[in-house]
């Protein structure tokens, strides 16, 4: 059987209780009543058992001191993470191993070596957050449940010692109890009576605020944790050229795959002449952006779509995507994230006889899908021997390409004419024209077409509602606990004397005003504050 302590009032209290849960009598000699009031002198559950390993762990996390230490450690860690930019904020094309040292010197290197460049995703930071979560749960359970029982069991009549030791206390004579009761009720106290004694309380629900906000925090942390679980979260980026369609990554379902067409990308700048912003705009170099917008059309494939095949698309809807105005469909959302203006799209050339300057036809090369051969008629034709979308000379000084983006296109053309049936070769790039030997013909540049690209973030987040719920509950709890307080006033008839005591968990100023009002309206001696 559990050990219990029976108070002289007859109430039996759990082991470890310092103030009787019913009458408030200190159960041991050395109890300070006032400081025990925080949890009504109830036995914190962890303090009562200290046997097994599990209990030791439990007790560790039950301590507020440990909780505060965890908060402080997380706080310091979070601050360290802002000394240098995190890995996600450094340029995407650099190697972090060298970037931190070259940019920030030895300190940067140490920062990188300690793994602080990815601090918030590190295992130890997640463990810290997990321990904080554990501490919140354990500490709340350990305190919340006994506190609930204690407040429920409290009696109207309190022990003399309990009364005497309250911060606000007075002894009066000849008090009209009905008047006291009436005044307290007018102050919106809930009044209970027992044997001519009075117990008045107000705002008890505020005592649950801390526990409510802790529940909110736990829900929030759970939501944050869930995003690491597969299927809860999609985060991808989609680049689409104007006039093109692309499949939206992460949006394949049994009902088909979504596609997006970029009809137009719009970039608007503020007009420097606009009077309102004139002075601000003239003080900056360059222009200030007003709007980034993609006009798009959403399509969906048939359910039996196989990855890679030419899709049979059904239009779903049109939409406009701006910064701050994402485009939503099903559980997905597309956000305007980036853009690229004037990407090379088509290049035109003319076949020209060098000496006469005479032209023998024009060809337009689609840089994303060039043809092997362009027939210009009358025996004139041009063949593409090599195509380098993003031309560079490699280590062996060979022409090569950096990647497949047509940022710096270059070609090796073979030019055929009735006079040169074997063909003449020419290397043509942007502001480059290299020939092998003496050519009769050349490819002269005849214009370029460009296209804009838009970059959209594709996002699905099934954890959002959990996070939002957690946040809401937290706010309710915090408001409840901090904007209200639990005030109690006890009036006890002791032979011919009337004892009055008052307590609140916070805002003593407000409570003092209440008791001042009470003593003004009744014959109660003003309650005095104990030092």
């Amino acid at each position: 059987m559990m050990q219990t302590i029976t108070c002289e009032c007859g109430h039996s209290n759990p082991y470890g209780t310092s103030l009787c849960q019913a009458c408030g009598k200190p159960l041991t000699q050395d109890v300070e009543v006032l400081s025990s009031m925080r949890y009504e002198g109830s036995a914190r559950r962890s303090q009562t058992y200290n046997k097994t390993f599990v209990d030791h762990v439990w007790n560790f996390f039950s301590s507020v001191k440990v909780g505060v230490w965890l908060i402080v450690i997380i706080l310091v860690a979070a601050a360290i993470g802002t000394i240098f930019p995190q890995e996600t904020f450094i340029p995407p094309n650099v190697d972090p191993a060298t970037h931190y040292e070259s940019e920030y010197g030895t300190l940067g290197l140490i920062y990188y070596l300690l793994g602080f460049h990815n601090l918030y995703g590190s295992w130890w930071f997640i463990i810290l957050l997990g321990m904080l979560g554990l501490s919140i749960i354990v500490a709340s359970l350990d305190r919340g449940i006994p506190l609930y029982k204690a407040l429920k069991q409290q009696r109207v009549t309190r022990h003399d010692q309990f009364m005497k030791n309250q911060r606000l206390f007075s002894v009066s004579k000849d008090v009209e109890m009905e008047e006291v009761k009436y005044t307290l009720e007018s102050l919106r106290y809930k009044v209970r009576e027992e044997n001519g004694n009075i117990f008045a309380e107000k705002g008890r629900f505020s005592r649950w605020g801390a526990y409510v906000n802790h529940v909110g925090l736990i829900i929030f942390l759970t939501g944050a944790m869930l995003r690491f679980f597969p299927g809860m979260y999609v985060d991808d980026i989609l680049w689409v050229r104007e006039g093109e369609k692309a499949s939206i990554p992460g949006t394949a379902t049994d009902e088909g795959q979504y596609y997006l067409e970029n009809n137009e990308f719009i970039l608007e700048m503020y007009d420097k002449e606009e009077k309102k912003f004139n002075s601000a705009l003239s003080s900056v170099d360059g222009e200030v952006a007003k709007n980034y917008q993609s006009n798009v059309t959403l399509y969906k494939t048939k359910p039996d779509h196989t990855v890679g095949e030419d899709p049979e698309l059904v239009k779903v809807k049109d939409g406009e995507i701006r910064v701050n105005e994402p485009f939503k469909f099903d559980s997905f959302a597309l956000y305007q994230t980036d853009f690229k203006l004037n990407e090379f799209y088509k290049m035109s050339f003319e076949l020209e006889e060098k000496e006469s300057g005479k032209k023998f036809g024009k060809l337009t090369v689609d840089l994303h899908d060039p043809k092997q051969e362009y027939d210009l008629g009358n025996g004139y034709k041009v063949k593409i021997e090599e195509y380098f979308p993003n031309f560079i000379l490699d280590e062996q000084n060979e022409p090569s390409t950096v990647n497949n983006l047509p940022d710096n296109p270059a070609f090796v053309f073979s030019m055929y004419s009735p006079e040169t049936p074997k063909g003449e070769k020419a290397f043509v790039g942007i502001q480059k024209n290299i020939e092998s030997g003496e050519n009769q013909f050349k490819m002269s540049f005849a214009g370029i077409e460009t296209k804009d690209l838009t970059a959209l973030t594709v996002r699905k987040d099934h954890t959002l509602w959990i996070i939002a719920l957690g946040g809401l509950i937290f706010m309710i709890g915090v408001t409840q606990g901090l904007y209200w307080n639990y005030r109690r006033i006890w009036i006890k008839q002791n032979q011919d004397e009337v004892w009055a005591a008052a307590h609140t968990n916070k805002n003593w100023y407000g409570l003092k005003k209440d008791v001042e009002f009470l003593s003004n309206k009744t014959s109660l001696i003003p309650l005095e504050e104990k030092e």
């Binding site: 925080r38 802002t82 912003f277």
Partner: protein, 394 residues
């Protein structure tokens, strides 16, 4: 409309100045010690701070009308608004506690904040796409109100320390108290020095390389102590005495560092002058003037945190997350400003938990409130000006 707006802000500033004086009159214990005197001047002080606040609200509304968007979109506008919220927070807490002494310290701090704000460019600037959202006004105003109320807990904590720290001997505590006062004086120094050199039209230009390795011209408006990491002075004016370390980011890093050094130096001079005049520690001189109940000060500073913390959380974290989700597709991205808002939240959460335990009321608690305000100002100033991130206005 823009002119009316600046006039209203200017008059608000002057009125705040007067209300500070009125509050100071109310606690001056030289001539009249009677309660009527205190009550009268306290009332005048309170009413004038209310009038000043109304005038500043007028500035806010007219500037909104002039620009077409809520004027919280750059450092000047935000910092001014923060000062205004401090005044509002003071008005609320004064209405509850009726303590004149609070006004003597809260109003000057708010004045300092507003004066500091006006050192930034005051042009009405257009909104970049990321800021074009209703959440701009919702998030920023709520966060600023929360911070304003938390700032009052600093003011109250500071008075508590001035009141209770033993000034008969020199100790670590008196030293830290002097450092806090010195930092406040440095803000005054910054304002004085900025105005002086601006008035004299001082300029010194450098050519430096920006991140894209292109030459850009930067112009110092104060004599150059800290030159750019690697740059060429284009004129033969004073300096530089040394170069800014190259790891400091951005083209304007050296100018910011230079301004910072000037603020500290002018702070030293002002502080030194005050010490010479007073012939004792400034906090010791103030202690003789302050005669407030320390329990009440402790209560006010705790109450300010209790009121400010939920508002701060709502504005700086919850509304911020909702907006970030909408604008940047993620509600949290560990951007430095976000992290420092979280740090502020954690700090005050720790404070509220410490208040549960014995021994953390009173003095320790007051030191914490000072530290909390340091975190808020760090987030307001350093994160925007020094650390790079999505929130760097400029």
């Amino acid at each position: 409309m823009a002119e009316i707006s600046s006039t209203l802000l200017y008059s608000a500033f002057i009125i705040y100045l007067f209300s500070t004086l009125f509050f100071a009159m109310s606690i001056s214990d030289k001539k009249n010690k009677d309660a009527a005197h205190t009550k009268k001047w306290g009332k005048v002080g309170f009413i004038s701070s209310c009038i000043g606040f109304v005038s500043q609200v007028g500035y806010f509304i007219t500037r909104w009308m002039a620009s077409g968007h809520a004027p919280v979109s750059n450092l000047f506008e935000f910092t001014t608004f923060f000062g205004m919220m401090m005044v509002l927070a003071f008005i609320i807490l004064y209405a509850i506690y009726r303590t004149n002494g609070l006004g003597v310290f809260a109003m000057p701090v708010a004045l300092l904040v507003i004066a500091y704000a006006s050192m930034f460019p005051r042009d009405i600037s257009p909104l970049i796409p990321a800021l074009q959202s209703d959440w701009l006004k919702i998030h920023v105003t709520t966060a600023a109100l929360g911070e304003g109320i938390l700032a009052i807990s600093f003011v109250s904590g500071l008075i508590y320390l001035i009141r209770t720290v033993d000034q008969s001997v020199s100790s670590k505590k008196t030293m830290w108290l002097e450092i806090i006062l010195y930092s406040l004086i440095s803000v005054v120094g910054f304002i004085v020095v900025s105005l002086a050199f601006k008035g004299a039209g001082y300029q010194s230009a450098f050519e430096i390389m920006n991140d894209q390795n292109q030459p850009v011209k930067i112009v110092y408006e104060m004599p150059v102590i800290a030159g750019p990491a690697d740059g060429k002075q284009l004129d033969d004016s004073f300096g530089p005495l040394f170069s800014t370390p190259s790891w400091m980011n951005g083209v304007n890093a050296s100018i910011k560092l230079n301004t910072f050094i000037w603020s500290l130096l002018s702070g030293v001079i002002l502080y030194g002058l005050l010490r010479l005049i007073l012939r004792k520690r400034i906090s010791a001189a103030l202690q003789t003037k302050v005669n407030m109940n320390s329990d009440l000060l402790d209560e006010i500073s705790y109450r300010a945190v209790a009121i400010g913390f939920p508002i701060f959380t709502l504005g700086a974290l919850i509304f911020a997350m909702i907006w970030a989700q909408q604008a940047w597709s993620r509600f949290w991205g560990w951007d430095p400003k976000e992290v420092w808002a979280l740090i502020t939240f954690l700090f005050y959460a720790a404070y509220l938990h410490l208040r549960l335990s014995r021994g953390w009321h009173g003095e320790k608690s007051a030191w914490l409130c000072v530290l909390g305000f340091w975190i808020i100002t760090f987030n307001l100033i350093a994160v925007n000006l020094v650390l790079v991130g999505l929130h760097s206005y400029a």
